[in-house]
């Protein structure tokens, strides 16, 4: 067992420290008129430092040396009772980098909200706390620790959704998210307690493996495996809330629509991913250990029996069905949307369906493909929400038909949005295509019924082109000025006031965030090998550890 060096927590300390500093400065009332610049700058710097720290833990790129991260061993691969709470794996570090990147994109974009001085402390402070929760989740070696970290993120995001306070729609969305979130959290913890009752531990490396039970106390009423399965059922539902899996997705549409665009960007780009990470961490063990004992099984104590369980296939079927249903329902519902943000919300739900294919197939290339899609999704979907925020800030209405001529009137925003939509649709030369390609071909490689997952994914991708292309047509082909409507105060943070900073009236920070997103979509669309290889190694590392 390797002792963890405290230095791996430096990024988290920075996030926490910056958040506390922001709240402190806010209550002291320093620089009241420049709070966005001050707090936003602080938050951005803290996130950048944290990101650099994480990359340093990964020994900086080329990331090829991932597998040799010194602390990169799950501390307790097989513990009977107890085990450590946290472990550093390269898989977790990669996800930390993903979370921090999405937070960075959002905080960069939000630097352009000079009109929203009042909410600045809440926004940037909570953004940091939510990010802190996500990065902690990435260190989890224990189910309770994981769920608690996810809860930190959850509670901060409920507040973020309603942070402007003036906008009733935002408040309604926050309330809805809170209610469903609380329900889901309850279900998750109940599932965790069921698993604990069977395994006597909540160590993630042990859960889902062989069950150890005392010969004096035979398996309880329904049988140990049944109870464990029940626990997993509750966890599928509880964490599925974050991932926006159908039918636990309904809140997401109202919330993505009602929340300020940048918060929607963070929900789609960041907090959804922590749910997926939780899925991987909780379910890869029972799927992969199905029917076999983990390597390095220690001697069984006297008076105990070991029960080998077969959870793998049922769970894979569950995730396969969920993947197909989620992507199909998301796409079908996106077809008829008239509101831009609702369309993006449904598209985000369908993308979650594609990502679940990785969990259903559960081979190393499939998981790597899913991670690549998760990575890509930051830039396409969070980027798209950031563009929507910018366009709304320029006074264009929120309906898709209001976007007539946007592509010609605002060439930079229009072209960027087009690139993001094409990437979402999976058109070649974008990273969205590469991710889907790797994911689907992994499903095909796995043979058997997994091939049908790839088929469903392909058909769904074809279906999704309908609604993405419709937006492109409206932006570029349809005549007419972009419709300018009065914006309800606070609907888009900073929307009603003229921005202070330049670049076509959208602000430098936002322009930079959009530019970076587009550049990455292209760069890794043309030459994906660096990220793909490092994800592959991180996944292999995780699978070896299991």
């Amino acid at each position: 067992m390797t002792a963890l060096a405290w230095t791996v927590f430096v990024p988290e300390l920075f996030l926490l420290g910056a958040a506390l500093l922001i709240f402190l400065l806010d209550s002291l009332g320093i620089l009241r008129d420049r709070r966005v610049e001050l707090f936003g700058g602080l938050a951005t710097v803290a996130i950048v430092v944290a990101l650099v720290g994480v990359l340093a833990d990964l020994r900086f790129a080329p990331l090829a040396s991932l597998a040799t991260v010194p602390a990169g061993v799950v501390n307790a691969p097989w513990t009977l009772l107890g085990g450590s709470l946290v472990a550093v794996t390269s898989f977790g570090l990669v996800f930390q980098a993903i979370f921090l990147t999405s937070a960075l994109l959002v905080s960069l974009a939000s630097l352009s909200h000079p009109s929203d001085q009042k909410g600045a402390a809440i926004f940037f402070g909570l953004l940091l706390i939510a990010t802190l929760g996500m990065t902690l989740a990435a260190f989890s070696a224990d189910l309770i620790f994981l769920l608690l970290s996810i809860e930190i993120t959850g509670i901060s995001t409920y507040l973020l959704v309603g942070y402007t306070r003036r906008d009733p729609r935002g408040l309604e969305a926050a309330m809805k998210m809170y209610i469903i979130g609380a329900l889901s959290a309850a279900l998750s913890f109940f599932g965790a307690s069921l698993l604990f009752s069977v395994y006597g531990t909540t160590s993630l490396a042990t859960l889902g493996g062989p069950i150890l039970y005392n010969t004096h106390f035979p398996p309880p009423l329904l049988g140990a495996t049944s109870i464990a399965l029940l626990g997993y059922g509750f966890l599928v539902v509880g964490i599925g809330f974050k991932v926006t899996v159908v039918p636990f997705h309904a809140w997401a549409v109202d919330v993505y629509d009602g929340a300020p665009s940048d918060v929607s960007a963070f929900l789609a780009g960041g907090s959804k991913k922590v749910g997926l990470f939780g899925y991987f961490l909780v379910f890869l063990v029972p799927i992969l250990l199905s029917g076999r004992a983990p390597p390095g099984l220690p001697p069984i104590p006297v008076g105990f029996h070991v029960l080998i369980v077969h959870f793998g296939l049922p769970l894979q079927v569950v995730f396969g069905v969920m993947a197909v249903v989620t992507m199909t329902v998301g796409n079908v519902l996106a077809l008829q949307q008239t509101e831009m943000k609702r369309m993006l919300a449904y598209s985000s739900i369908s993308q979650a369906g594609y990502m679940l294919i990785g969990l259903a197939v559960a081979t190393s290339p499939a998981v790597a493909g899913a991670v690549l899609l998760i990575f890509a999704h930051i830039f396409m979907k969070a980027g798209a929400f950031i563009v929507v925020g910018a366009v709304a800030g320029l006074g264009v209405g929120s309906r898709i038909t209001d976007w007539k001529g946007v592509g010609l009137r605002f060439p930079f925003l229009g072209a960027s949005f087009a690139v993001m939509l094409l990437s979402l649709a999976g058109i070649p030369l974008t990273v969205g295509f590469v991710a889907k390609f790797v994911l689907f071909s992994a499903a095909v490689q796995a043979q058997g019924w997994f091939v049908w997952l790839a088929v469903a994914g392909l058909l769904n991708s074809a279906l999704s082109v309908f609604y993405y292309a419709r937006v492109l047509r409206v932006m570029y082909m349809e005549k007419g000025e972009a419709v300018v409507v009065p914006i309800p105060a606070g609907a888009v943070a900073g929307g009603s006031d003229p921005p202070l900073l330049g670049v076509g009236g959208i602000g430098y920070g936002r322009a930079a965030a959009i530019g970076v997103a587009v550049a990455i979509i292209f760069a890794f669309g043309v030459y994906p090998q660096p990220v793909l290889a490092s994800f592959q190694m991180a996944v292999n590392h995780l699978l070896q550890v299991l």
């Binding site: 209610i179 029940l230 599928v236 636990f248 309904a250 079927v317 079908v332 290339p365 071909s441 290889a533």
Partner: protein, 669 residues
């Protein structure tokens, strides 16, 4: 073995990169530059860097011949899951390959490319859209160099397609002219036929080699297709000869499209609608050579099939004669040279088919210089008199002295008059076909056609020379007074004149000749120029005699301002008309297109509109209905949402507790 310049080989990728960077700079900022020619100088700079580096690498290859590959750039790895055909994943590696073949091509492409680029700066100065021109020409050069250095067929194909796209843009450079726009489309469509065939050939090779197995240890090593050199040679026992023959024919189809071989030759003469510089670079010296180069690099496999070899010989030999015959009557200076290109490409293909790959390359090498020279000289003429009609010109040797001498040198070289470059290579082609025909009697007819073409070649090129430069004054008095071109145009002409004289004899320098005799990786082809026996000398004498006869005939008919015209009732009139109408191939193609293709497309349109679109609309309606129904579930009431969560949970529990135990396959039962 390693020479002093081998250290450069890992940097070979910089050769295509330099013009690619020029492309990006000119493409992005060309229009914002204060003077548009600056973009031209950037492009010239890119080409210059490529030339210096390319020639140095070629010299390095001369000093220590061998096959050098660098496969360190892993473009993309599709992860594998430990089973199946690619257990360790499947990598697409972009590599560079330096060997005698690519060294020869590097010299040709970079030198001609640089000279043409330099020539363009003044030639194009009157045109609009200059940044576009320089950007496209740079991209073309980059793609062509990428193709030359490619070490596997897939990478080759990527650059091949890029080259095709650039060619499309450049032929259609004057897109406002309908003829140019339609010529561009024609070139693109006709070469596309070849491209599809080529892709089919790649697929067969890929499929054959991939299934040939991980046992040989290279399924995981990347796209399993290094052209020549050790990795391939272990696999020379084709698993399926029929498929290999088919693959060879498909590759030949691709090469015929790019190199304008019969029957895919119609596009090249029409492609003369582009700027003359483009004709010189793309449609004489480099791009059309890509097809020949493809045949050369794949001749290792193709050469094994007697069927394929015969097909190559037949197509090459026939095209040689076919194109030369049409060149004899055309009155457009550029089109004559274009037909001549098709005809000369036929010679190269012929030599490769006969099994003498390096002889084909040798002719490619010399041809590139004298053909670029002819085009640039023709460009100078057009630049001076603003017409391409031979019958309006005349007497231009007085004003365009350098140009006329350059054209004369190019013509003599093309006609195969010793000791100019064309003599050596054409003579080698003829004697290699003669040698091959000893063992393959089927080759004799094509040898005869190729031999007859020598006379025709000399005749048509000197018909052009006499019509343009001899006589006292232009036949059309309205022509503007001609002036000799500026130095940026004459210097390339002079340099190319020097090369057109010397390039053939250069092979007698042992190091340069080594490139052509090394024959690295061609176990099946002798690859050595024929030894000079009495028969060979006799062949040379006869062919030089034929060439001289052609020149003499041209002089008698067209020299000193004479204009020869057939009598109206002459028996030769129908032949002349047949040649002018290009054997009615275009007419037939048009008729076929209008009647058959159009009818088929109308039928397909019907199918598309009612059956396919109907299905699509049906699905659209289905999904829309579904969408509307499902939307009602999105009530906005949070209690409903909570209910969905609970219902979802219930469904899972039913699945896990009722369905799973009932199905043994899921671990129940």
């Amino acid at each position: 073995m390693s020479g002093p310049l081998n250290a450069l080989f890992p940097w070979a990728f910089l050769v295509p990169l330099a013009p690619a960077i020029a492309f990006v700079i000119v493409g992005l900022f060309g229009r914002r530059m204060r003077r548009l020619e600056w973009g031209g100088w950037v492009a010239v700079g890119g080409a210059f860097v490529a030339m210096v580096l390319g020639v140095l690498i070629a010299v390095g290859e001369m000093l220590s011949p061998g096959t050098y590959t660098d496969r360190s750039f892993n473009w993309f790895t599709l992860p594998g899951n430990g089973t199946g055909t690619f257990p360790n994943g499947f990598s697409l590696v972009m590599g560079t390959l330096v060997d005698p073949l690519s060294a020869i091509m590097l010299i040709v492409v970079t030198v001609v490319g640089f000279l043409v680029m330099l020539y363009s700066v003044d030639y194009m100065h009157r045109d609009t859209g200059l940044p576009r021109y320089y950007a496209e020409l740079s991209l073309f050069l980059a793609s062509m160099l990428g193709l030359v250095l490619a070490d596997n067929l897939l990478q080759f194909f990527l650059f091949w397609e890029l080259v095709g796209v650039c060619s499309y843009f450049l032929i259609g450079f004057y897109y406002q002219r309908p003829a140019a726009a339609s010529a561009a489309k024609e070139a693109f469509l006709v070469t596309r036929v070849g491209d599809v065939l080529f892709l089919g050939g790649i697929y067969i090779y890929f499929q054959q080699f991939a299934t040939a197995g991980p046992g040989l240890g290279w399924a995981a090593a990347g796209f399993p297709f290094v052209f020549h050199g050790a990795p391939f040679l272990t696999l020379l026992h084709p698993p399926n000869p029929t498929l290999f023959t088919l693959a060879g024919l498909l590759i030949l189809g691709g090469a015929a499209g790019k190199s304008a071989q019969f029957p895919l030759d119609v596009w090249l003469p029409d492609a003369m609608e582009g700027p003359t510089t483009v004709s010189a670079l793309i449609h004489a010296a480099t791009m059309v050579a890509a097809g020949v180069y493809l045949l050369a690099v794949t001749s290792v496999f193709i050469g094994f099939s007697a069927t394929d070899s015969f097909a190559i010989v037949a197509i090459g030999g026939f095209t040689t004669f076919w194109a030369a015959s049409m060149a004899m009557v055309n009155r457009d200076i550029k089109r004559v040279i274009a037909y001549s290109t098709v005809s000369q490409l036929g010679y190269m293909v012929l030599a490769i088919g006969a099994g003498f790959t390096m002889v084909g390359l040798y002719h490619l090498f010399t041809h590139a210089f004298f053909k670029a020279l002819l085009f640039l000289a023709a460009g100078a003429v057009i630049h001076a008199v603003d017409t391409q009609d031979l019958f309006k010109m005349g007497g231009l040797r007085k004003t365009l002295r350098i140009t006329s001498i350059g054209f004369l040198i190019g013509g003599l070289s093309l006609a195969g008059i010793p000791p100019l470059a064309g003599f050596f290579s054409k003579d080698d082609v003829l004697s290699s076909v003669y040698t091959a025909a000893q063992t393959h009697p089927m080759y004799w007819p094509f040898f005869v056609l190729a031999f007859a073409t020598v006379f025709m070649t000399a005749y048509y090129i000197f018909r052009v020379w006499f019509l343009t430069f001899s006589g006292d004054r232009p036949r059309d008095p309205t022509l503007p007074p001609a002036h000799e071109a500026p130095w940026t145009m004459t210097v390339p002409i002079l340099i190319l004149s020097g090369l057109a004289i010397l390039a053939g004899a250069l092979v007698f320098v042992p190091q340069i000749g080594g490139l052509f005799t090394a024959g690295v990786g061609f176990p099946a082809t002798p690859g050595v120029p024929p030894t000079y026996t009495t028969t060979d000398i006799l062949l040379s004498v006869v062919s030089v005699g034929l060439g001289a006869g052609g020149i003499l005939t041209a002089y008698v008919l067209w020299g000193n301002g004479r204009v020869f015209s057939l009598a109206e009732d002459s028996a030769a009139q129908p032949i002349r008309r047949l040649l002018l109408e290009r054997y009615y191939v275009k007419t037939a193609v048009d008729w076929f297109g209008l009647r058959v293709v159009y009818a088929v497309s109308r039928f397909l349109d019907f199918v598309d509109e009612y059956i396919i679109d109907g299905t699509v609309h049906g699905f659209e309606r289905l999904f829309s209905e579904l969408s509307i129904r499902l939307r009602r579930l999105q009530s906005g009431v949070v209690l409903d949402y909570a209910a969905y969560v609970v219902v979802g949970l219930a469904v899972f529990l039913v699945f896990l507790y009722v369905i799973v135990p009932a199905i043994p396959a899921l671990g129940g039962g």
